[in-house]
């Protein structure tokens, strides 16, 4: 009894330590294993970015499950964390069998590690499948000219939007040429209206200007070279000319005086535009849905749209388009046998008419070749038709640079562009910075 206390205490201390270690190791290993989406059962795990369009994917999963023995299970991942989650799960047993992505740079690292199914053979076996989609869109999602993605959402080209009422008040017409655009800048400045809304705190909105200008000056080839890892692409005169043009536009007061503090994500730029304090806005096609949510009257009757004009002496085809062609389904290479067949069968459902119909009912413009007859069902048929024609007739659809380049380049790309617009980098300084930073 007398000696019991100290001994039991030291035994207790030792066993506590052992238990702590044991528990720690088991907890740690537990962190990294099992979880949902196990691969033993007879179902395929489908991951999708959760937003207003998710209901279209919910419907297609239901339709697919009626026809297939291997069932699809839809996991909706909240938008903010989607790319992080997709990236960290690939290569673990938790990885999905089929997943939503942005094509290009968003999957290029997976391609490098052979983690995705090459869809080329499926296209060969089923030529109708390839023909079902607009070629420029199918191509825009490819990596090294190999197809890994099936278009599964609406197209999102960058469009030059204008405020009809502001134009009417100024007696102005939407720009058809670069000179028109420069003339309009003066017209609106005299009227005390900011010519173009620009969200300078969100550099991806400034990137749209760079993308269109480089394309108009040098054609889609310039960025293709950069994307393929050829750093000399930045030496192309089109890049320097773009940077100089941006400096000139900024100096002219094209974006007003406080664009550096304006945001897009909290609706700063869109409100400015809708309220008529700015006349035009270069933005992705989602601007329509955005305005419809926040300023429904403006979206209905005040919103005008046109294409980005050609530039004198530019080599690029003025029909070229930039933006996000669409989103894609890709199939995990680890999915084998019966499940892989089912997964490929599932992504094919995106080519079907009833899928396109669902997209249109949701306000999206599908990337399928035969969507023309369905566009009349869109809530704004003229807008849908304009977008569809713009994209179908585009010889090239350049994927947004921050999606096309691999993720490691995104921060530097954004920072340098923001510095160019803010006057913190000169045009030549911009070119040098890009050559140095983008690998």
């Amino acid at each position: 009894m007398t000696m019991r206390t100290p001994r039991s205490r030291s035994i207790l201390r030792a066993s506590t330590l052992a238990a702590a270690l044991l528990l720690a190791t088991t907890t740690l290993t537990a962190c990294g294993s099992s979880g949902p989406g196990g691969s033993d059962d007879d179902s395929i795990d489908v991951w999708v970015y959760q937003d207003a369009s998710t209901k279209v994917q919910r419907a297609v999963v239901e339709r697919f499950n009626k026809t297939s023995k291997v069932k699809a299970k839809l996991t909706e991942v909240p938008g903010e964390g989607y790319s992080d989650k997709m990236r960290t799960s690939m290569g673990t047993p938790n990885a999905p069998d089929v997943f939503f992505n942005w094509g290009g740079g968003s999957i290029s690292d997976f391609v490098k590690e052979d983690m995705l199914v090459d869809l080329g053979p499926s296209f060969k076996k089923d030529p109708e499948l390839q023909k079902a989609f607009i070629p420029s869109i199918l191509k825009a999602g490819a990596v090294n000219n190999t197809y890994y993605g099936i278009p599964m959402r609406g197209m999102q080209p960058v469009i030059l939007f204008y405020n009809k009422k502001v134009f009417q008040d100024a007696g102005a017409q939407p720009p058809k040429s670069w000179d028109d655009l420069l003339g309009l800048i003066n017209t609106f400045k005299k009227k005390g209206v900011t010519p173009f809304a620009l969200a300078g705190t969100d550099p991806w909105t400034e990137l749209m200007w760079v993308e269109y200008l480089v394309d108009r000056y040098g054609g889609a080839e310039v960025f293709k070279r950069i994307q393929s890892g050829d750093a000399s692409g930045w030496d192309d005169p089109a890049v320097l000319k773009t940077a100089e043009t941006i400096k000139e536009l900024v100096d002219r007061g094209t974006f007003g005086k406080n664009y550096k503090s304006v945001n897009y994500t909290a609706d700063g730029a869109s409100t400015l535009f809708a309220k008529g304090k700015a006349a035009m806005h270069l933005m992705g096609s989602w601007e329509y849905a955005n305005q419809k949510a926040n300023q429904p009257d403006f979206a209905k009757s005040g919103l005008g749209w046109t294409t980005f004009p050609a530039i004198p002496d530019g080599n690029g085809d003025p029909k070229n388009v930039v933006g996000n062609p669409t989103n894609y389904w890709s199939v995990n290479a680890k999915t084998k046998g019966k499940k892989r067949d089912a997964a490929i069968e599932f992504v094919k459902f995106a080519a079907k008419q009833d899928y396109s119909k669902d997209l249109i009912a949701n306000g999206d413009v599908p990337a399928t070749s035969d969507a023309t007859s369905l566009l009349g069902k869109h809530e704004n048929p003229t807008y849908a038709q304009f977008q569809y024609d713009m994209v179908r007739e585009a010889p090239s659809f350049t994927l947004s640079w921050d999606q096309a380049l691999s993720a490691k380049n995104t921060p530097a790309l954004h920072t340098n562009i923001q510095k160019l617009f803010n006057g913190q980098l000169s045009p030549t300084g911009f070119v040098t910075a890009m050559q140095k930073d983008i690998k």
Binding site: A20, A24, K257, N422
Partner: protein, 333 residues
């Protein structure tokens, strides 16, 4: 029951047992094992190690293990998929030569110093005031305390709206502050100032609370004695309140400095490190490299450096201020 027992036992003293500082249970053991004072004394005062188990486990799983992993990853090249490639000290030499990193270190230090200079005097004065017995004090203190209750992300989003140059509050008051057109976030100094202001607004309540607690603990008798000697309010503040709050100042400063060094969410939402890289402090640079560029090896090197620096700074603060000596401010009372 136990308390009553020990309270009853204490006055009797049991001289050989030293100062009565334990619970009654152990005392009972000591009494039974008469003559084995050493055993009894060892058993007094500390609960068994098992009590620390949940805390230790939590700390190991969520602090030690990730830190060790970060230490390992800092010597590798890893993009989040595939397996990390050992690259030796590549990340570290890159860190040393990275102009963004230099700027980030400078900005972090600047923000830390400015944070301390802005928040400490305000929190100290508010805290001392809130410790008093004035009218409306409780109501006003409750209002001051509100920002601390909201999530910092929500607060940053609200401030982002207020700082919108066309529709926010800043559009009205910007010109008076010298930011024409409300272009505050687009200006390097303005953006840093905005972060400084929003964090001060958000965290001063916490430090006020710490100072309030500290000031309340100062014995009334000191002030009574000073009053008899003819000291006014100001003299009392400098001669009694401030010296008595010395340890509270250190506590609050360590929290503030380490907080400022590791500050992140307001920067992400309010400025995204911009304009350009002019508000990219070290934690934001870590995020940018880790979760935008997925350059997790390099981001780990930044993180490892941050852990070392923040730990060193807080240890240094504790040492330099003599806080570690655990000397009471009430010696001789």
């Amino acid at each position: 029951m136990a308390g009553a027992d020990s309270a009853a036992a204490d006055p009797k003293g049991a001289p050989g047992q030293g100062a009565p500082r334990g619970g009654s249970g152990r005392r009972a053991v000591g009494r039974k094992a008469a003559g084995r004072k050493a055993v009894g004394r060892n058993a007094v005062g500390r609960p068994s190690a098992a009590w620390a188990l949940p805390g230790v486990l939590f700390f190991v799983c969520f602090a030690v293990a990730p830190m060790l992993l970060v230490g390992y990853l800092a010597f590798t090249d890893w993009d989040g998929i595939g397996s990390p490639q050992w690259t030796g000290t590549d990340n570290w030499s890159r860190l040393w030569h990275d102009p963004d990193m230099r700027q980030a270190v400078w900005l972090s230090l600047l923000l830390t110093v400015l944070t301390w200079l802005v928040q400490t005097p305000i929190a100290l004065l508010l805290g001392v005031w809130a410790a008093g017995r004035q009218r409306n004090r409780a109501v006003l203190s409750a209002i001051f305390f509100l920002p601390l209750l909201a999530s910092s992300v929500a607060l940053a989003l609200v401030w982002k709206q207020l700082l919108d140059p066309n529709f926010g509050l800043i559009a009205e008051i910007g010109p008076a502050l010298g930011f024409e057109d409300g272009d505050l976030l687009g200006d390097p100094q303005g953006a840093l100032g905005a972060i400084l202001f929003v964090t001060a607004w958000q965290f001063i309540p916490l430090h006020t609370l710490i100072y309030q607690g500290g000031a309340r603990a100062i014995p009334r008798s000191l002030y009574d004695a000073a009053a008899i000697d003819g000291a006014g309010t100001v003299r009392q503040f400098f001669s009694i309140t401030l010296p008595q709050l010395r340890n509270t100042v250190v506590t609050s400063s360590v929290i503030m400095v380490v907080g400022a060094l590791t500050f992140f969410d307001t920067v992400l939402i309010l400025t995204k490190g911009g304009p350009g890289t002019d508000t990219s402090i070290v934690p934001f640079l870590m995020y940018k490299n880790g979760f935008q560029a997925f350059d997790l090896g390099y981001a780990s090197a930044v993180a490892a450096l941050l852990v070392v620096v923040a730990t060193a700074v807080s240890l240094l603060l504790v040492r330099l201020t003599g806080f570690s000596a655990m000397r009471s401010t009430r010696e001789g009372m």
